[in-house]
């Protein structure tokens, strides 16, 4: 068995060599290679069956090789993995795997799936093609659903950033609809309550200003609108200035008021 197998591998290597040297066409090479690999696989399958039945040692021992059960030391030496750059992965690889399963007694059942009641999904030795199709299907549906949710979340994130983001910095004031505050007033002097001491210290300026503007007001006094009585009232009513401040301020105001008398 093993000698026949070795011969086949030798022939396969020869074929590989011929093809690389251009002695045979690609079609012929593929066809022959397929045929020889099929033969090797058939031999391997029958070897395994014999080994399981205890009718002979495993081909590993006969051939003196160690490693994988089919006697190959590594993928590099395995003709099934040898691929031509033009050809890509060996198309026969999946086909060459023996279909079937070994039962508890070590008996091989070709072209059959293990019954569900005998399956143990936690067993790492369980053949891949023994995983129930329903489980595979559920997994893929869950993955698709998860990916869809992630896409929706990403879409939502993008919309959120576009609506509420100012570039990449968020404007949470706008988001919360916060109002605005202003500190501008048309009456900054009267409304100034910031610092009364400053105000009193400036009172001399104000008094001098007011006395300096008295001439302006005297020009108003010439008009009928600004009768002396009117301005006397405002003069005494310049309590606005009295409040804010200082005796000197009000005194100066009286001074300016005299301009209108």
């Amino acid at each position: 068995m093993s000698r026949e197998r070795d011969k086949l591998i030798a022939v396969l290597n020869e074929l590989e060599k011929d093809y690389h040297e251009g002695n045979i066409s690609q079609e012929k090479y593929i066809s022959l290679r397929k045929r020889y690999i099929h033969k090797i696989d058939t031999l391997d399958a029958s070897n395994r069956v014999r080994a399981m039945r205890g009718k002979g040692p495993h081909s590993n021992k006969r051939s003196g090789r160690e490693g994988s059960p089919n006697g190959y030391n590594s993928k590099r030496n395995n003709p099934r993995y040898n691929k031509h750059p033009k050809q890509g992965r060996n198309p026969n690889y999946r086909q060459s795997r023996p279909k079937g399963y070994y039962d508890e007694n070590g008996e091989f059942h070709p072209y059959k799936s293990r019954p569900y009641n005998e399956r143990n999904l936690n067993n790492v030795n369980t053949p891949v093609n023994d995983v129930p199709k329903e489980t595979k299907s559920k997994t893929s549906v869950a993955l698709v659903a998860l990916f869809t949710i992630i896409l929706l979340a990403a879409f939502g994130t993008g919309i959120f950033m576009g609506v509420f983001g100012d570039g990449f910095s968020f404007g949470f004031d706008d988001l919360l609809g916060a109002g605005a505050a202003i500190n501008d007033t048309a009456f900054p002097i009267q409304d100034q309550t910031v610092n009364l001491t400053d105000y009193s210290s400036n009172s001399s300026d104000i008094s001098s200003n007011y006395s300096s503007t008295s001439s302006d007001y005297s020009s108003y006094s010439s008009s009928d609108d600004y009768g002396s009585g009117g301005y006397d009232d405002s003069g005494s009513g310049s309590g606005g200035y009295d409040d804010s401040g200082s005796g000197s301020g009000s005194g100066s105001y009286e001074g300016s008021g005299s301009g209108y008398n």
């Binding site: 992630i150 990403a154 609506v163 605005a180 007033t185 048309a186 900054p188 609108d225 009117g230």
Partner: protein, 184 residues
Amino acid sequence: MERKYIVGIVILIIVIGGAFLYANKVMKEKESHNETEYLQVSQNGVSIIVPGNWVKATSESNSSLLAVADPSSKNANGFSDISVNIERKNITDSLDAEFTRNYDTLSVTTGYQVLFSGNVSGIGGYSGLEADYISNITGVAKQHKAIWIEKDGFAYVILCTAPQSSFNSKEMIFNQIIGNFKFN
């Protein structure tokens, strides 16, 4: 990394980026529409129209009847630099006297510079006075336009404020607000 993960990440980036750009474009269009669309605001017996993207504001002045501001002009102190504040003041003699006294005082106060004063008409059916001046109290030069009108013994002042650098660009909005001022 497997190719499918790379494809997935690329799709995610495209989806997030696409959604972001789309939403941003929609919001920009909405904002530009809001700038040209005016809304009516009424409070304390006065009524004005303001750009759709402005908001009502709280004023620190006790005399304020109604304040509105551009929320995007908020400064480091939390106050909006672009605003309109309508204030009321009891007048003891006449509007002219109050007006003159106010701006004569301002013109000689450090940080204020009066640019212009004169008469205006057609403000809510009333004639009044206008003063334009610059203030520089907090280190930022602001330009103000104040319209004074008299009604029932009170001086009503519409004070429009913007940073001096952007005042001209906002003047059209201020004129719209002033021109549509009404007493309720």
